[in-house]
Amino acid sequence: MTDAKGDATEGSAGPMMAADGTPLKKSLARALRMQKMRALMLIAPLLLFVLVTFIAPIADMLFRSVENDIVSDTMPRTTAVLADWDGQGMPPETAFEAAYFDLYIAAERKLHTRLGTRLNYEQTGASSLFRKSGRGLDDIGEVYQDQFEDLDEGWDEAMPWAELMGDPEWLSEQAAWTKGARQPEFILRDGIADLLPRTAEQYEAFALYLQDEDNKSPLDEEPWSAVHTALYEDLAAGDLSGYSGPRADMLVAADALVDSPDFETVSFARGFEDIDEDWADPEIWRTIKLYSPEMTPGYFLNSVDMQLTPEGVEMRPDNQRIYMLLFKRTIFMSMVITCSCILLAYPVAYILANLPARKANLLMILVLLPFWTSLLVRTSAWKVMLQQQGVINDVLVWLGLVADDSRLAMINNQFGTIVAMTHILLPFMILPMYSVMSTIPHTYVRAAKSLGATDWTTFWRVYFPQSIPGIGAGSILVFILSIGYYITPEIVGGTTGTFISNRIAYHISSSLNWGLAAALGTILLAVVLILYWAYDRIVGIDNVKLG
């Protein structure tokens, strides 16, 4: 301990004190807090901007790779029933019943096709099955609807239903409603939910849908056939002969009809089978059950050519594997591109760093020139150069090196992608290399030579080791840029030269399978981070100099 602490503390024990007796650490922190706050205020706009426009969308996108609430949201009853199903054989009738009501509402809300698309990622054919079912579900309900109508025309009219189901107060408010105003929200009549539970549920769903989505009054529209189906089920389950509320005559008569042996019924399972026999295959039910949870590893498994089955995780069939191949190809080609960039950039950077300033500046402009040209133009130029009827092939044929009928295929394959991307990414390698090399003093080279080293030894033992940070920085930059490159492989890559990013773009914009795109993107991000970490462990990120 020195005497620097002054007379604020007596003896050497205890924390150091500031002049006013508070601990030194505390008063230092207080003094720095204002500075920190001010610094934070200065960066706040950028921080906010980055947060809103960069971090948040990326986080949202990453979350999509596991998000799966569409199944349980669209088919809540079905997933609840299937939760108890063991997956062996056909699911119980209750599952079909739940699916009927779920899909009926989904079809009315036009959500069933979206669910079909989602399940189609996991089981081919699900999309058309759901589209077809949306149209066919009416057939089941019409059986009951027709019989109730035959009994009493009132069952096919809006008002009797509304009076039966709706709260009287709501009824009068709804009757007073005029188009353009806000509708009074539908309220179930007291006790009706106990009396006719399924019907009440279905009618309420119908009424709310009508009010919210169609902006029509439930007093004007007769209900869906699903409501009739529900009514049949309620009447079949209970005895309503003692009912005395509104429309008691209709309901009691209907109850009597349902109980009579002539009443025609149809099982849901049968009805579904009539729509499409795929419903009789347990496969679709297993798929629904498998993807009921709100989070799923399915997209990630898909991204590495695996799939989720009731028996567990397994590899996809050979003919469906594609993503691992694409990942390997992307990494391999990025490495080739990085290596060719190193080989081409090193001499250029060396010359740049060792030329007199005037000439170096001119050369630097030539290096930067491609930056000022559109990426598309540069890539398209390569197309002109490399295609079968292109400049290079023409020259080779003219020279007689290549026969006219066996022109070289240099584009729409890996070669084309590597050539074009090496050219495009070259400046990103040259610039960090140059900035490192220009800081290596020339005296090192002279010293090595004066110590007896030949030109090659001088380069290899003295110059090259000191230029490695530039190579490292350039390599990281080029590799990370190329691993996520999209436009160039898209244009010149053909089928064998495309990258994983092209597949991601396809899922984002064409197949609309955003979950899979997000999973692929997440894996790509993880790969980059892992490589970065490995680089840090092996070379050390401190050794990277960008300028």
């Binding site: 003093p441 005296t443 090192y444 002279r446 010293a447 090595a448 030579k449 004066s450 110590l451 007896g452 080293a453 030949t454 030109d455 030894t457 001088t458 033992r461 003295v462 080791p465 000191q466």
Partner: protein, 366 residues
């Protein structure tokens, strides 16, 4: 110019010229030879051509004209790595990615010297500069003085007969510089190596060298041992450049052997030793060292005295430094030792000053 003759010269520059742009010469007709074991310093202001000469000797610059010989053999066309010349650079140029020991082993490795032999030599070289414990460090972890020693050890480890040093002490502080000056000369002499040392610091040149070559404008102005350089400068540039110096301008009145009289601008006449003047009427610049000037002298009848007025008196501990106005020159400085009986002059005081004629050299007027 004293020349040791080509026969026993270890290093010889013969009529060497150097031009970078083809228009002007940086080195003009350089003739220089030094015998084995000599410590020669090239001294001069920046741009005088001294570093260029060193670089030509090392092989990093080629002579535009003339020949450079090492041990009697022309080395003009030998690349630097084959010349076997040790070199210490201004900023040490220790390879930052190698440890100290690796730096020292480098010249031995490229000479394909076996591992055990190499290690022994590295250890000996490190011990020689008293840095035996630092073999495992990186140059970045050493202080400037330590790096300097390592650079020196590296230049010596492969036992070259000639070592070049390009302002090696420029980056050190004064105290360390003085210590290193002493160590370098000691080492050079005890190892018997020939050394060419470049500096712009005249103290360094005077204290370290056997001989000093003063460079200016691409030419050697004077090549002489330090004492001769200081006491008998051959021209006014050397007189000005080496040490502190008073000059008075005038015209030669008459020359008699090694005496001449010079009439100053204000008409006063002084005695001087003719060095660069040959005939009466010539313009000249006389040079007198501050410590050779006597106040109120008792020099006998033959010598002239001048009237002077004290402008400033500075007490510097061991000496007094007094600034006078003499014959119109307001920067005439005298130094007197701080003896018990030494009179302290006061500003405004009128005194007479004089000197022995042989201490006052009549040089060229440029």
């Amino acid at each position: 110019m004293p020349d040791t003759g080509a026969s026993d010269a270890f290093v010889a520059f013969e009529r060497v010229q150097k031009s970078y742009d083809g228009e002007s010469l940086v080195v003009k007709d350089l003739n220089l030879s030094l015998p084995k074991g000599e410590f020669l310093t090239m001294l001069g202001p920046s741009g005088s051509g001294k570093t260029t000469c060193l670089m030509m000797l090392a092989g990093f610059e080629t002579a535009t004209h003339g020949e450079i010989k090492l041990d009697g053999v022309s080395i003009n066309n030998i690349p630097p790595h084959k010349r076997g010349i040790g070199m210490v650079f201004q900023n040490y140029a220790l390879f930052p990615h190698m440890t100290v020991a690796e730096n020292l082993a480098f010249p031995l490795e490229v000479r394909k010297i076996g591992k055990s032999d190499r290690e022994a030599k590295v250890k000996r070289a490190l011990d020689m500069v008293e840095m035996g414990d630092f073999g495992g460090r990186r140059p970045g972890q050493l202080s400037g003085g330590q790096q300097q020693r390592i650079a020196l050890a590296r230049a010596l480890v492969f036992e070259p007969e000639l070592v070049l040093m390009d302002e090696p002490l420029g980056a050190l502080d004064k105290q360390l510089r003085e210590k290193m000056q002493f160590e370098i000369t000691n080492l050079a002499h005890s190892l018997g190596i020939t050394t060419v040392y470049v500096t712009h610091d005249q103290t360094e040149a005077l204290t370290m060298s056997d001989r000093v070559a003063v460079f200016n404008d691409g030419r050697i102005q004077q090549l002489a041992p330090p004492d001769e350089l200081y006491e008998a400068p051959q021209n006014s540039f050397v007189a000005q450049f080496i040490g502190e110096n008073n000059t008075l301008e005038g015209t030669v009145q008459q020359i008699q052997g090694d005496r001449c009289t010079v009439q100053l601008a204000n008409g006063e006449v002084i005695d001087a030793k003719p060095v660069n003047v040959t005939q009466p009427g010539e313009r000249t610049r006389v040079s007198i060292r501050p410590e050779r000037v006597e106040v109120n002298p008792e020099l006998g009848d033959t010598a002239h005295t001048l009237k002077a007025r004290v402008l400033e008196f500075v007490y510097m501990g061991d000496i007094f430094r007094t600034r006078l106005e003499v014959a119109g020159n307001r920067d005439f400085v005298i130094k007197t030792r701080n003896r018990a009986d030494q009179e302290r002059l006061t500003p405004g005081q009128e005194v007479a000053i004089g000197w022995l004629p042989e201490d006052c050299r009549a040089l060229d007027a440029d």
